[in-house]
């Protein structure tokens, strides 16, 4: 049972969680809250199109039951920028043609935003040689760290170029400009 007070804060607004425990976080965001920026690709954790930030961390919203997010702070693509006020990551995706159809893009941008925070926090990846050293954002590192987001249009190299630009502009990797 979900208690009647179970809430999650989505893009700064508190919302009661859905009554049906089967509702995934993805369905709740899209179908109940109308936040359709987040996409359903595979619905099985295999593509990353549904990536959102929960407590600042990227997750696949398709594999998470909404009722498990009581008290969580959730951020979706709708809060990252707007058409007339693009976030630096969004602007860089446009500059570098980091998409074709755009279906994977909200997930890519949310993922990239979290990636910058993970770099700032010093998290290692499977490409990190010295696990205890500060990771550097090499193309190999960025590709590995973005590997949870599939792009069927194959915009990968342009996505990495966009990320490199934003990371270079944020030279101390503080995750501030994403």
């Amino acid at each position: 049972m979900v208690s009647s007070t179970a809430m999650a804060v989505v893009n700064g607004v508190a919302n009661p969680l859905p009554a049906d425990p089967r509702r995934t976080l993805l369905e709740w965001l899209r179908e109940d809250l109308g936040l359709t920026g987040t996409k359903k690709g595979c619905d099985h954790g295999q593509c990353g199109a549904c990536t959102v930030l929960v407590e600042g961390r990227r997750i696949n919203s398709c594999l998470s039951l909404a009722q498990l997010h009581d008290g969580d702070e959730i951020e979706t693509i709708e809060a990252i920028g707007t058409p007339d006020k693009l976030a630096p990551l969004q602007r860089a995706f446009v500059t570098h043609d980091g998409f074709q159809c755009g279906y994977c893009t909200p997930g890519q941008i949310c993922s990239a935003k979290a990636l910058m925070q993970e770099l700032a926090d010093g998290w290692a990846s499977a490409q990190t040689e010295d696990l205890t050293a500060r990771p550097s954002p090499t193309p190999e590192e960025l590709r590995e760290r973005m590997s949870g987001n599939i792009c069927r249009c194959g915009a990968y190299s342009n996505i990495i170029a966009a990320l490199e630009e934003v990371i270079a502009a944020d030279a101390d990797h503080q995750g501030t400009v994403a």
Binding site: M1, R22, N60, L63, T132
Partner: protein, 326 residues
């Protein structure tokens, strides 16, 4: 998904109570929700472990105690893990994706089910999903299947990476259940299929993984080599975990575990015995592979795993012994 009730345990004791009443535990949900969507798992009651007080990493003598609800991401980011048990961090980071690792937990990862395609397809015969129905994989697409530890009933692998590192590191799975607390060496945790493939591990009804304990660090060279169809975000075809110490040009000690090769994370002391006390050479590594694979049996599409495992072992040992510390 079939309808179900969802409760939220506020403590370990409460979680155990719900489990005792027949509920199924849900941690990150990255495997269970998937299985519920496909109606392979149809629990009537779930209990969320999120607030059950199992989310900490703590020093345990010279070892480390990793709570069952610690996420894979947090475990791999933990500085003690990175410094003293790098094999574990490497294996975790080789698995899934950053998004999945942020949800996947230590306990859930150990209990993840196979990725056999027939297990996921409810129109197919599968003894693991539907005991007695047969095994479509034996004569079917079995490229990802096991070559060690199989039975007539099932040839599926345990697909995960984390447990392979834990096996080489001699971790212990700590549980609580209706019959009290247990400390299960990880080598005994997963069950080969035998004639009961529906059962993946030794957990009893109502039993909860509370933590995994790592023994004191060995100080060895630790490498996790994962061979797969693409560079990232794919399960292993074969993986090798090694923790090895050299002394005066010889292998002084070594622990080796293999993933996606057997039906369970695979460790064979006879392989380590071949290596210990010897100077590294390709002939020695080939001999170790021969011992490892002497009972290996392919089923057609997965025959390639046998030579692949031999080469992955040689390559891993080559790296480990060349960078080996005294």
């Amino acid at each position: 998904m079939r309808p179900f009730a969802l409760d939220h345990a506020a403590s370990t004791a409460e979680a155990l109570q719900f489990l005792d009443d027949g509920a199924t535990a849900i941690a990150g949900g990255t495997n269970l929700v998937d299985l519920m969507k496909l109606q392979i798992a149809t629990p009537e009651r779930l209990v969320s472990l999120r607030r059950s007080g199992l989310g900490d990493i703590a020093q345990d003598g010279e070892g480390l105690r990793i709570g069952a609800l610690v996420t894979n991401a947090d475990c791999a980011a933990d500085m003690q893990v990175r410094e003293n048990w790098p094999l574990l961090a490497k294996a975790i980071l080789a698995g899934a994706s950053p998004q999945l690792r942020n949800r996947a937990t230590t306990g859930g990862n150990l209990c993840q089910r196979t990725r056999c395609g027939y297990f996921y397809d409810t129109s197919q015969a599968c003894n693991k999903r539907d005991p007695g129905s047969g095994c479509a994989a034996r004569e079917g697409f079995n490229r990802i299947h096991a070559v060690l530890g199989t039975s007539d009933a099932c040839i599926a692998t345990y697909p995960g990476d984390m447990a392979v590192a834990m096996l080489a590191l001699e971790a212990v799975v700590l549980t609580q259940g209706p019959s009290g607390e247990r400390e299960i060496p990880i080598a005994q945790f997963h069950l080969p299929p035998g004639d009961d493939p529906a059962r993946d591990n030794v957990l009893e009804a109502g039993e909860l993984i509370t933590a995994v304990r790592l023994p004191a660090p060995t100080g060895g060279v630790q490498i996790y080599r994962k061979v797969r169809d693409r560079a990232s975000y794919a399960f292993a075809l074969v993986s090798v975990a090694v923790d090895l110490t050299m002394n005066e040009g010889r292998i002084a000690r070594c622990a080796l575990a293999f993933g996606s090769l057997g039906t369970v994370p695979w460790r064979d002391p006879a392989v380590e015995q071949v290596l210990i006390g010897e100077a590294p050479s390709s002939a020695l590594f080939a001999k170790a592979a021969e011992v490892l694979l002497k009972d290996a049996q392919g089923f057609g599409a997965n025959d390639f795993k046998i030579p692949l495992a031999a080469r992955a072992l040689a390559a891993t040992l080559n790296d480990a012994t060349r960078t080996g510390k005294a």
